[in-house]
Amino acid sequence: MNILHIRHNTFKHGVHPPEHKEDTRGLPIRQFPFAPLLILPMTQHIGVPAVPVVREGQEVSRGQLLAKAGGYLSVPLHAPVSGVVHRIGNVPTISGQMAQGIYLKTFPFSTQEAVEGIPVDVNEAKQEAILQAIQDAGIVGLGGAAFPTHVKLKVPEGKRCDTLIINGVECEPYLTTDHRVMLEQADDIFMGIRYLLKATQAERCIIGIEANKQDAAEHLAACAPSDLPLTVAVLTVKYPQGAEKMLITALLGREVPSGGLPIDVGAIVINVATTAEIGRLLPHGRGIQERVVTITGPGIRKKGNYLIPIGTPLRFVLEYVEADPDLSEVYLGGPMMGVAVSNLDIPITKGASGVLAFTAAQVSRPHRVYPCIHCGACIQACPMSLMPNKLGQLAKFEAWDEMAEQHHLMDCFECGSCSYVCPSHIPLVQYFRLAKIMVRKRKQSKTAV
């Protein structure tokens, strides 16, 4: 049976930033060395921070539990290396603020063999047990959102998931982690899909892949086990094709209602690297200790796709890949939605899919902002069919409530397509982020009264 489908359907609007994937797409995943000191914040996911279960000075083995989940919307954290807990206290994070975390000193001569837990058999385990195992493994969305996967997989009472969608789109420029995972870890992905199908009770699974990764799509289609209800769909290359809502629309022709979740239209979307991680960890009862990160950009000499232990300091990473000493900009994630870092002494966390580095000469940023000339480019870029021009005007006057109530501000998922195309270089999505914060704050203060 041919399970490879070349589809031409996609979503409305979107943009075409240069891909820049050619430097790393062909490089196999390589193991990164263990840094002498790891930095492990308790909030590497969206939700409640994890709670440390070790004490300072305690020796831990690789894979041992360091912190337990702080609640339902939380995941535990496992030791990425064998070593000794150096300190428990505040650690720097990407936001620029300090947060509770653990400094872990690596044993220099350890074999770094990981301890295993209780395996979860995909055929015998019940739905609830699989969800629990996914939480226990510390799994979050590895595409960048870092939302706890077990929460996403939980189908609410009265709803049904008919399609499990595996997101292998990777529409951010530069990044090639998912591409390499699909080429090198197909069996893990298929095992992961088995767990996910059971956890969601979905009838079928579709893997969505952009056409610039045709090789990955063909590889997955060729080695898919025949008993999996699986389709591999090749999609148009367009940003933000990998956004959950856009992917659902492209594959199923369904629109997630405003303010709703994918499950409202019978779908659950899981990133392909997350799926591979589930398929690799659960049969051994292990927790997540490392992740694949694309390290690239003109400021990097040894570009590549690396398997990096969680908690590895960015400075250690950049030194190892021989980054240009005159770096002036470093992003975690892709150039469209990634976060610029202000401090290299922060760690690679579970949500970090890429590290991009540039020197000042390699960045060209327009400085002159012109007035809006009503060209409509933002309207034809916005995947949500919002009117960024109108929202931008209102933001200038700080009309936050009008933006939210009459112009669907809260439907903006901050893909940045509007700012990308704006010829007048108006910081549209930047305004909208601020506006969304202001609207949420006002709502909170209203409910408080």
């Binding site: 005159d326 992003y331 007035p371 949500m384």
Partner: protein, 342 residues
């Protein structure tokens, strides 16, 4: 290692790299063949008028920006477009002092009074032209012969009319424009002459082929909304075809309607002014269709032979309302949402 201060900004960290000034500059390039051909056809007078109008617009823009305490905005190239467009809509022997005045009004009243680039409701060049039409109705309908043999040696006498005086007795009148000929004498000019601009008329409205080429260039670069010229020309074509089929004697063919007068220039370079046209694709279709219908109505039943200018100005007036009424359906919502009237 890594001692430099890191520069931080919020995403996206990349931009497409086509700036507003790039768009404006490319519009100027797209108009250049039309302007060059106008100079070839009408000689020195046309050249002087193009220079005068552009200088007037750029100078006004610069001085007004400075007087209001802002940085000069001439580097965005939009004033150059206004100047060149204004000149292209005027008769080739139009007095230079009037041209200059038109440029000042176009920028001062048509653009700066509204707040400068991005805020003007009307196409500034057309505001300048509407002013000139009201102020100097005779001079603006005095046409000059194309390919006059002495056109590169001397300028038309009316060009150098002393400031604040009307040109002396009509010196170069050489017959009506094709539209006037049709309207008042019921004569049809061959389509071939129209397409190549072998006709009297405004400086830049003569060669439909070069205008279309300029438009195609901008469309290919993604710097013009193709829907605007397409919808205008389609509306004119459909409407005039119906009339022509009903009574071929009384109403001209769509080809004549397309190629004569300022329709091509207006549809390609004027109605497409981003600032004064609607932003949503659907709104643009409505806008273009409206302009096309108005052009036919004014040309056929109006008192003037040509109606492109007024049709576009009316379209401009409607476009802010279209931006409020014709809006896209937001993803995940069932209906188009309505903005409350403010």
């Amino acid at each position: 290692m890594f001692q430099k201060t890191l520069h931080i900004s919020t995403s996206p960290h990349v931009v497409r790299g086509i700036g507003t000034d790039d768009i404006m500059r490319n519009v100027v390039w797209a108009m250049a063949p039309t302007a060059g051909y106008a100079i070839w056809v009408f000689g020195l007078s046309a050249l002087l008028m193009l220079l005068t109008a552009t200088a007037a617009c750029v100078l006004t823009e610069h001085l007004l920006a400075r007087m209001s305490g802002k940085e000069s905005t001439i580097s965005d190239w939009s004033a150059v477009i206004t100047g060149a467009l204004l000149a292209l809509t005027l008769p080739p022997g139009f007095p230079l002092w009037m041209t200059f005045l038109g440029g000042v009004v176009a920028i001062g009243l048509g653009k700066f009074a509204f707040g400068g680039l991005g805020y003007n409701v009307f196409n500034p060049a057309l505001v300048g032209r509407a002013f000139l039409q009201a102020a100097f109705p005779v001079a603006i309908t005095t046409w000059h012969k194309a390919f006059a043999p002495e056109r590169f040696l001397s300028v038309t006498a009316s060009t150098l009319t002393f400031p604040f005086t009307e040109p002396a007795a009509v010196d170069a009148f050489s017959g009506a424009t094709p539209l006037a000929a049709f309207k008042f004498e019921h004569a049809i000019t061959p389509a071939y002459d129209l397409a190549l601009g072998l006709i009297p008329g405004s400086t830049g409205e003569t060669c439909a082929v070069l205008i279309a080429l300029g438009g195609l260039y901008l469309i290919a670069r993604g710097m013009m909304d193709w829907r605007i010229p397409v919808s205008i020309l389609a509306a004119v074509g459909v409407f005039s075809s119906i009339l022509h089929l009903a009574d071929a004697e009384a109403y001209p063919s769509p080809v004549f309607m397309w190629l004569s007068g300022g329709l091509m220039l207006g549809a390609v370079f004027m109605a497409t002014d981003m600032v004064a046209s609607p932003v949503t694709p659907l709104g643009v279709w409505v806008y273009g269709t409206l302009i096309g219908v108005l052009v036919v109505v004014i040309r056929i039943w109006g008192g003037l032979p040509e109606g492109v200018m007024y049709a576009i100005l009316l379209g401009n007036a409607v476009s802010p309302h279209l931006d409020k009424l014709v809006i896209p359906r937001v993803y995940g919502t069932s209906r188009t949402y309505k903005t409350k009237a403010t």
